[in-house]
């Protein structure tokens, strides 16, 4: 009997080796909520069905943990073969040797309609080489409840001065029946989306959070400019155009905002396409418009996800084959229809599914054409998430009254100076 068991084990081992020699197992780690990636899973299933030699398994990780999880795994010599990265992570991962330089693969077999067709390349570049392929692109847009705006007889605002006037007009009622003119996340928590709105405001006013003066990094605004910016956003709260509970809410996907927009307790919000889609599941009569312009014009923000290959991957060629497939027109038209591709040709030529097509998403389609990335902050001595967190924390301190507007501006700039000096 012992001999039989030994023979069975030996045959199992041999079979396993043979299988691993024939089929390459790849892991693709992504960080969007599971409910938003059913189409992505369908695309991967199709890839697996049409490729005998490669089998891809998708693993999910929460966005907030994705970077730390990968860095920890990669540091120990492991990690997924292909990973989803935010645009702003590429520089840090590339400079620490954790993801592969993709230039040779691109030269041999470029994805999509050629690499020049991809948006956001500059923020995925490190030392003149592309380390991540831009996968999806998104932007924040002003989303609104069409019925509430129609009842008040106002149109979506075009600039930041108009934004506060329209918010004032739309605010009405009291207690649980209040309609708030504008709901936007105001928390000081890591990842708070006040960061994006602030950047759009600062860029529209000819400033930025930090800037690179020929290699010398400095805060991008004076204390007075920053105080004016904080005061502008704080005025929504002080005047009752924005509900107080948003002081502890970092994301516009929170039910208070997403459901508030659908039910009309929030007349306008600032959301990503995916957050907007969640709101539209409760009420389809919602619209979107590009975020307001400043005196220097409309300066919109573009974020997105990229695809990188882990340096530890034993199958980089197969990983590249998978990346070429997953960025193809077929995937965005037939499977992954709830995301905008980060490819100019596909944005204009591809036929998107009902999730992203038509008038409701006009604001996003218009925004992506004009939007800019955070590439100007790359290379700063402090990582972007640290700058982001410092801004959110100080803005929130001023919103809540822990610091005056002037103190918050002065302390934030001091902290930024220190971070940029270290």
């Amino acid at each position: 009997m012992a001999v039989c068991v030994a023979l069975a084990l030996a045959s199992c081992t041999a079979q396993s080796d043979t299988t691993s020699a024939e089929t390459v197992e790849l892991t693709f780690q992504q960080f969007d909520p599971a409910a938003q990636v059913t189409g992505l899973q369908a695309a991967i299933d199709e890839f697996n069905a049409s490729h005998d030699r490669i089998r891809v398994t998708m693993s999910n990780v929460a966005f907030a943990d994705a970077l730390n999880t990968f860095v920890r795994e990669a540091g120990a010599g492991g990690g997924p073969d292909v990973l989803h990265t935010a645009f702003t992570w590429t520089g840090d991962l590339a400079s620490n040797g954790m993801i592969l330089n993709l230039e040779d693969y691109i030269a041999a077999d470029a994805p999509g309609a050629g690499i020049d067709d991809f948006l956001g390349q500059e923020i995925n570049t490190y030392e003149d080489s592309l380390y991540a392929i831009p996968f999806t692109a998104d932007s924040f847009a002003l989303t609104y409840n069409i019925d509430v705006l129609a009842a008040a007889g106002v149109a979506p605002p075009e600039d930041f001065d108009e934004l506060i006037e329209v918010a004032a007009t739309l605010t009405s009622g009291s207690g649980a029946d209040t309609t708030y003119g504008l709901c936007f996340p105001m928390a000081g928590a890591p990842g708070s989306e006040i960061w994006h709105l602030t950047n759009v405001y600062l860029w529209g006013h000819g400033a930025s959070v930090v800037r690179n003066d020929d290699g010398d990094w400095n805060p991008g605004t004076t204390d007075e400019q920053l105080a004016d910016t904080i005061a502008y956003f704080k005025s929504f709260l002080d005047n009752g155009y924005t509900p107080e509970n948003l002081l502890s809410i970092p994301l516009a996907g929170d039910p208070v905002v997403a459901e508030g927009l659908a039910q009309g307790s929030c007349a306008m919000t600032v959301q990503t396409p995916q957050q907007f889609t969640v709101s539209r599941e409760s009420n389809e009569n919602l619209g979107s418009a590009p975020l307001p312009a400043g005196p220097e014009g409309r300066q919109l923000q573009m974020g997105g996800r990229s695809l990188s290959i882990n340096t530890n991957s034993e199958h980089p060629d197969e990983a590249w084959e998978f990346i070429r497939y997953i960025t193809s027109q077929e995937v965005f038209e037939e499977y992954y229809t709830n995301q905008f591709p980060a490819q100019a040709t596909l944005l204009t030529e591809a036929t998107f599914g009902p999730e992203l097509s038509g008038e409701p998403y006009r604001g996003y389609a218009e925004s992506l054409v004009e939007a800019r990335t955070y590439v100007e902050y790359l290379g700063a001595p402090a990582p972007i998430p640290a700058i982001w967190n410092a801004l959110a924390e100080h803005f929130n301190a001023a919103f809540a009254g822990q610091l005056s507007v002037e103190e918050a501006a002065q302390q934030l700039n001091s902290q930024l100076e220190q971070m940029l000096t270290d």
């Binding site: 970077l67 730390n68 860095v71 920890r72 990669a74 540091g75 120990a76 840090d92 991962l93 400079s95 620490n96 954790m98 009291s174 207690g175 649980a176 209040t178 928390a187 000081g188 928590a189 890591p190 509900p243 107080e244 509970n245 002081l247 502890s248 970092p250 208070v256 402090a382 990582p383 998430p385 640290a386 967190n389 924390e393 100080h394 929130n396 301190a397 001023a398 919103f399 809540a400 009254g401 822990q402 610091l403 902290q415 220190q418």
Partner: protein, 332 residues
């Protein structure tokens, strides 16, 4: 039957002889049996020693090493970019609001919530231990109900309380507004500087109170009912009995419960992080949340490690007090 003692089977050493040896300073002879017992003892202790070395001494030493290096999340796997000596500690005490963080941790998170839990816990334990509860047959039911909050995972407890405390539609606010305690719409408990610690405190106390009640109740049940009868016969009222009989008799339990609760609370990360992420601004930042924020939000592992070293030193003080008290209690 008379036992024949031989060299291999020596007579047992009497306690009196052991005490005499101890007082005279005479050292026991180290025979084979002693050496064998010593080896067995060492072997028995070895697994625990390895666990302590592997899971406490090594991580703590590695953390101390990181606190003196220039290291980020990205360079941690290679041990960082070089030595910076005490620089991270200088940064901690000059650029971080460490005084505010220590105050929040020590006073608001620990002192206030432990005090409330001890007072409420004692009151509830007295109620549950009351004779009338046993007579009415509701003792087991009330103890089961009382322990329920402790069975709720902390994450779920925070989420539930966040909804309850929401202004406008939160049930807690609606009830207080309905009876006229709060204005219409309630208040933003976890959004306002004036109330945010009350909000966090409510969550901590609600979730963690049952443990205190259980421990104090166990202490109360060790008191002989005859002592209460004697106190009653002597004309002692409730307050006199409480302060002259009950509290002195459960003092060891109260001390150990308070110390354990302090240690668990001082280290706590979940309640503050999930409720406020340290906000509004940085007004509720505590040691544990600062360590996380510095390390995993700002990727500054060096500063995070320095803060963790500071936290470890403070916790060591609590641990020493706990052990001293525990041994004293056992001696008593």
């Amino acid at each position: 039957m008379v036992t024949q003692h031989t060299a291999e089977h020596p007579p047992p050493i009497s306690r009196r002889r052991v005490v005499r040896r101890h007082r005279s300073g005479e050292r026991p002879r180290k025979g084979n049996l002693y050496r064998k017992n010593a080896r067995t003892g060492a072997l028995l202790v070895l697994p625990a020693l390895l666990v302590v070395l592997g899971f406490y001494i090594f991580p703590a030493t590695f953390n101390l090493f990181l606190s003196m290096r220039d290291v980020t999340v990205f360079t941690m796997h290679q041990g960082g970019d070089g030595w910076v000596g005490w620089n991270n500690f200088v940064r901690l005490f000059t650029t971080e609001n460490i005084a505010g963080i220590l105050w929040n941790t020590t006073f608001w998170l620990t002192f206030v919530t432990v005090l409330v839990r001890m007072v409420l816990g004692l009151a509830l334990a007295l109620v549950l231990n009351a004779t009338i509860m046993r007579r009415r047959g509701v003792g087991p039911l009330s103890r089961t109900l009382m322990i329920l909050p402790w069975t709720v995972p902390p994450v779920a407890a925070v989420l539930i309380w966040q909804f309850l405390l929401q202004p406008n539609y939160g049930a807690f606010n609606q009830v207080l507004a309905a009876i006229g305690v709060l204005p219409e719409g309630g208040i933003g408990w976890i959004q306002q500087l004036e109330t945010v610690w009350a909000g966090i405190g409510m969550i901590v106390v609600w979730r963690e109170l049952p443990l205190v009640v259980l421990m104090l109740l166990a202490g109360l049940q060790t008191i002989d009912p005859d002592i209460y009868d004697a106190a009653k016969a002597d004309g002692a009222g409730f307050m006199r009995t409480l302060f002259s009989v009950t509290l002195p008799m459960i003092k060891p339990v109260v001390v150990v419960t308070a110390l354990l609760t302090i240690i668990w609370t001082y280290n706590n990360f979940v309640y503050v992080w999930l409720t406020t992420r340290g906000g509004p601004g940085n007004s509720t930042q505590v040691l544990a949340t600062s360590i996380f924020k510095q390390g995993f939000v700002e990727y500054d592992i060096a500063l995070s490690s320095a803060t963790a070293v500071l936290g470890m030193l403070i916790m060591a003080v609590f641990a020493i007090v706990y052990f001293l008290k525990t041994f004293k209690v056992n001696d008593d």
